[in-house]
């Protein structure tokens, strides 16, 4: 056996498995995206099974492209992903800086802060949409009715009563509706992923050059200047990694969307594909190919970045 054969042999199973995993389902998707394939087609029974004779060319792509639902789903996907990323980076940075000092109980604080990240996504969604955000039974409902009751009682109070009579009666928000379900999803995913950002920023802050900071202080640099010109550049790479990894993960959000609105609310691209895949497989596959393209745009950036920073 030559010197090179053995290392190759050791890599073969992993490479082959991933190759099959990537290529086989994707080529089937590609094939389905070019044919008419509708599961419940009463008038055209020949469309209910996949066959090359049902060739539709780019028809499915054009159909999807001209579909308002598709663009709405892309809008929702991008809106949800962008909001989560902005919130987690800002909150994560603030929290990491807050915890990056020694104080009593720091270990416990860290454990508490990181915990949400390990919560199963399905449980996360069930917990937030029911026990916290439910407009009647959840904490939101209880808080709103508590505040209403309080201001109601205070209206008859002497002297300050007029102030409370100016208060409007609050109505709880239903987060299962179509306009608000994306907000609920953003809230719960931000809660779950901010710990991830905190953890990465914290790790990175610990490797910051302290001597450089001390030198800056001796030179009379203010706190803000130090943050702006030393800490922030130092965090640039971890920050871009946080952004990219979250983009990849959140573009494929599904469980949260499903549990929050059960199809009645804001749909993102994976959810739309899942819905289409119960009937119009051709269109679902074409949408899937669009999703692959969208993910690839993000992936190219991420891979470039990681390959630069990792391989030295």
């Amino acid at each position: 056996m030559s010197k090179r054969t053995l290392p190759r042999l050791l890599q073969t199973p992993a490479v082959l498995l991933l190759l099959v995993w990537m290529l086989v389902p994707l080529s089937i998707t590609l094939y389905f995206s070019f044919i008419r394939y509708v599961l419940a087609s009463l008038n055209r029974p020949e469309w209910t099974t996949p066959s090359i004779t049902n060739w539709r060319g780019l028809g499915n792509y054009i159909f999807v492209w001209n579909n308002d639902g598709f663009w709405l789903a892309i809008y929702n996907s991008v809106f949800i992903v962008t909001s989560i990323i902005v919130l987690t980076v800002v909150l994560g940075l603030a929290t990491a800086i807050l915890v990056n000092r020694s104080f009593p109980g720091r270990g416990i604080v860290r454990v508490l802060l990181i915990s949400p990240f390990f919560v199963m996504p399905a449980v996360n969604a069930v917990l937030w949409i029911n026990m916290i955000l439910d407009p009647v039974l959840g904490l939101q409902g209880i808080a709103v009715s508590g505040i209403n009751e309080f201001s109601e009682n205070m209206r008859s109070a002497p002297l300050i009563g007029w102030f409370f009579s100016l208060w409007p009666e609050l109505t709880p928000i239903s987060f299962r509706a179509s306009q608000t379900s994306a907000i609920a999803v953003i809230m719960m995913v931000t809660w779950q992923w901010t710990p991830f950002a905190v953890l990465i920023f914290m790790t990175s802050l610990q490797s910051e050059d302290q001597q450089q900071k001390e030198a800056a202080i001796l030179d009379g640099a203010g706190k803000w200047a130090m943050f702006r010109f030393l800490t922030l550049p130092h965090l640039a790479r971890p920050m871009s990694i946080v952004v990219m990894i979250q983009a990849i993960f959140h573009l494929s959000l599904y469980a949260e969307i499903e549990i929050v609105s059960r199809g009645n609310g804001n749909k993102n691209l994976p959810y739309l594909i899942g819905e289409m895949a119960t009937n119009n497989i051709g269109a679902a596959s074409a949408t899937g190919i669009f999703a692959v393209i969208l993910a690839n745009i993000f992936a190219i950036f991420l891979l470039r970045m990681i390959s630069k920073s990792l391989m030295e």
Binding site: L6, P7, Q11, P13, A14, V15, L18, W21, P25, L26, I28, T29, F32, L98, F103, R106, V109, V111, L113, I114, F117, F118, V119, M120, P121, A122, L127, W128, M131, I132, D134, V136, L137, W191, F196, L199, T203, S204, E214, I217, P238, S252, Y254, A255, E258, L269, P270, I273, A277, A284, S285, G288, A291, V292, N296, F298, A299, S307, S309, L310
Partner: protein
């Protein structure tokens, strides 16, 4: 560190207090879930019992009758354990070869592996269902779930192992070669003992990812191989009426993993950033 010590009294008290408050607020939903699990379903939705109530273990003792908890938990345990083991069995030799016998293609292979992770699952959902149902006949089996969980996590496993193996000095492995140890011996006698910590944390993290996976496990199973994710996601009952029991089963589903997660915070950074931040 003389300079840092010059903190005013205000900031010595204020910032730690703020950190504690933040931590408590962040942890509150989890606390609330566990807290609610000790209320009866009736108490759980009444504002007057928000904090004052008679704790009960009823929800936990009825978990098996209400939800058939152990069937789902058993599936979760079996699929996560075996997926982790298989991912390591495939991943360790691969990462070993990449770390100690890199070729010019190694970097590209690693990048390509990572790129499989970015393929949106929804795009291949129907083909996967179609293949496993109509051709392979393995839809809704634990075998399928194990294979899929393994494949989904394999890139991360290889990346993590690779980043740990790279830290082992090459000379040690080469010294083994000089002594006439064969490759299997190298892996078994030298690599595994040296990288034990790294392999263990990779395993732990993979197990957590498998346990929490909520796309394939839900969509490629119906009854026989359904995991805890399916149990929770499929809970379409009028949920409002059952906060107590829902909380109990949710607590039981996340409890072990959250505790496990506390022990591998550091590895999480490495695993999720594919080794780019350590």
């Amino acid at each position: 560190m003389a300079i840092v010590a010059e903190q005013s009294r205000f900031s010595r008290i204020f910032w730690p207090t703020l950190a504690w408050i933040t931590a408590i607020v962040v942890f509150f939903p989890i606390f609330w879930l566990v807290f609610t699990s000790f209320k009866t379903d009736a108490d759980a939705v009444k504002p007057e019992f928000l904090f004052k109530f008679t704790p009960t273990l009823e929800n936990y003792s009825n978990m098996v009758d209400n939800y058939d908890y152990w069937r789902f938990a058993g599936n979760s345990i079996i699929t996560s354990v075996f997926a982790t083991i298989f991912a390591l069995v495939v991943g360790v030799p691969c990462a070993y070869a990449m770390a100690f016998d890199p070729t010019r293609a190694t970097k590209d292979v690693l990048m390509w592996m990572l790129s499989t992770k970015m393929l949106p699952a929804a795009a291949v959902l129907y083909p996967m269902t179609f293949l496993t149902k109509n051709f392979l006949g393995i839809y809704d089996t634990k075998f399928l779930v194990i294979v899929v969980l393994m494949l989904v996590n394999l890139p991360i496993v290889i990346w993590m192992l690779f980043s740990y193996f790279k830290e082992i000095p090459k000379e040690i492995i080469e010294a083994g070669k000089m002594d006439g140890v064969d490759t299997w011996g190298e892996i078994k006698e030298i690599l595994i003992p040296l990288a034990w910590g790294g392999i263990a944390s990779t395993a732990l993290l993979t197990f957590i990812f498998c346990w929490n996976e909520a796309y394939w496990t839900v969509r490629l199973t119906t009854t026989d191989a359904a995991t805890l994710s399916s149990l929770i996601e499929g809970n379409r009952a009028p949920e409002g009426l059952f906060f107590g029991r829902l909380s109990a089963v949710s607590t039981a589903a996340i409890g072990p993993i959250v505790v496990l997660g506390w022990f591998c915070q550091k590895q999480l950074v490495r695993g999720l950033t594919f080794g780019a931040v350590k």
